[in-house]
């Protein structure tokens, strides 16, 4: 499996591996579909572009048609919201934007407000969302994992069953011959190093670290209840059946214990704490380098 295609989209680097046996024309055809699908996703959910549904929703309240695929993502967000006492919420958009992580990347903090409760603002009706006031959504917690799943499904619908869809280190991998994929777990302080190697077969792995997307007192995860970025965790990895679940749980693990989340989801986790100590679930498929 060495037909590798790299490109930039939705603010990250994508790398798609397809079987070498595919002819070039076929690969181009599949890639075109992939690009179109990512664009469609971005046009719906991105808070960084003026023509998205999410940007419209930040300007006016009302009922908005969401893509057919939104239901499973919204349902997942609601479960995380309940399990983390509201810490994981799509209503975090205004908080992120006011902290400086806005569409213009001002990185200048403005006055910030605790977002309202889900039920006060959102009514979700399958393929449409009703909001009681203008509000900026952010789907950063699970959106990238979800689009990786959507693209993976698209590839499978083409009859291709061995592939890797990697969006900036969040990836889904399938191999019909069960060949493991060796994934280095980046050191949360020194990005030239790895702290271990995960071995993935027919699953998804997502990571979240606080080192890169960081400015001022903040990084890309902010607790909506305290308006601060959690500092007790340096990095989290989750291995799960789907990339959306793995992605969302990396954020949820900053706010809820593995114990609580394991009651609802099947996953393996590794957490590197602020003192570089490691908590890892018993079947996390990795070798770690430890003292």
């Amino acid at each position: 499996m060495v037909c590798r295609k790299d490109f930039e989209a939705i603010g990250t680097h994508w790398c798609i591996d397809l079987p070498e046996a595919l002819d070039a024309q076929r690969v181009e055809c599949v890639l075109k579909k992939i690009h179109d699908r990512i664009e469609e996703f971005d046009r719906a959910y991105s808070r960084f572009r003026v023509d998205s549904i999410v940007t419209q929703m930040s300007q006016q309240s009302g009922r908005f048609a969401f893509p057919a695929d939104s239901a499973s993502m919204m349902t997942f967000y609601r479960r995380l919201y309940d399990l983390t006492d509201g810490a994981v919420t799509p209503l975090i958009g205004n908080v992120l934007s006011d902290s400086g992580y806005d569409a213009a990347y001002s990185l200048q903090q403005k006055s910030m407000m605790v977002p309202k409760a889900w039920d006060e603002v959102i009514r979700f009706h399958g393929e449409s969302i009703e909001t009681s006031e203008p509000v900026l959504f952010d789907f950063g917690a699970a959106g990238k994992g979800y689009i990786v799943d959507i693209i993976s499904d698209l590839i499978e619908a083409e009859g291709i069953n061995s592939y890797c869809v990697d969006a900036g280190g969040d990836m889904r991998y399938r191999s019909v011959v069960d060949e493991p994929l060796r994934v280095g777990l980046e050191h949360p302080i020194d990005t030239k190093q790895v702290i271990g190697v995960a071995s993935i077969v027919n699953r998804s792995i997502c990571g979240s670290a606080m080192n890169r997307r960081a400015w001022g007192d903040f990084h890309h995860v902010i607790d909506p209840r305290t308006l601060t970025s959690p500092k007790h965790v340096l990095a989290v990895w989750v291995v799960a059946e789907t990339t959306m679940i793995a992605d969302g749980l990396t954020t949820a693990l900053m706010f809820a214990t593995p114990h609580v989340l394991l009651q609802e989801f099947d996953f393996e986790y590794a957490i590197v704490h602020a003192d570089l100590s490691l908590s890892v679930s018993s079947s996390f498929p990795a070798e770690f380098f430890v003292t």
Binding site: G169, V183, G184, V194, V272
Partner: protein, 181 residues
């Protein structure tokens, strides 16, 4: 299973007094005999674990521990080396009384080939002092990660913080420039 549950119970019961004693060393107020009760499930049998270490400055702690296996896998016994206990992860939820009120403690222990490979605190105490001791306890049972150069490890992929979008990096660089001018 019963053996490993027993063993986990003993480990938890042995560790709890450390927390409890820590509490009392800091805040010696009470003086009473100690009593520890441990129960296991699903086997339903009850283990009575020896009371907390005698001679400690006034330990009025009453501790109850309930242990349930979180997940377990059957140990392979095809070779000469036979494990005494089944591999697996066991969780225990305990509550113990302190002058600061009853405190909760959840502990998850992973056994592999008769060795405890992981101990994790899964539930936190309500009281700040108790929380401090629990955190110290948890820290003492963790290993620290160390890095190896990416070039020295054979890898297909790397996962960590996702690469930041160009705009974000540009903004960050602009701020660095402003800050140095």
């Amino acid at each position: 299973m019963t053996n490993s549950v027993k063993r986990a119970a003993i480990v938890v019961a042995a560790l709890l007094p450390i927390l409890v004693l820590g509490w009392f060393v800091l805040k010696p107020e009470d003086s009473a005999s100690s009593e520890t009760v441990a129960t296991t499930s699903p086997s339903g049998s009850t283990n009575t674990v020896p009371p907390a270490a005698p001679g400690a400055a006034g330990s009025g702690a009453q501790t109850s521990v309930t242990i349930t296996p979180a997940s377990s896998t059957t140990a392979s016994v095809t070779t000469a080396s036979v494990s005494t206990y089944n591999d697996g992860t066991y969780t225990a939820n305990a509550s113990y009384n302190t002058p600061g009120g009853p405190q909760d403690l959840g502990v998850s222990i992973t056994l592999k080939s008769d060795v405890i490979t992981e101990v994790t605190i899964t539930e936190g105490a309500k009281d700040a002092v108790a929380q401090k001791f629990q955190d110290q306890f948890a820290a003492g049972y963790r290993v620290l990660v160390v890095g190896k150069n990416i070039d020295d490890v054979q890898l297909t992929k790397v996962s960590g913080s996702s690469l930041t979008p160009g705009g974000f990096n540009d903004a960050l660089n602009a701020i660095k420039v402003q800050a140095t001018v």
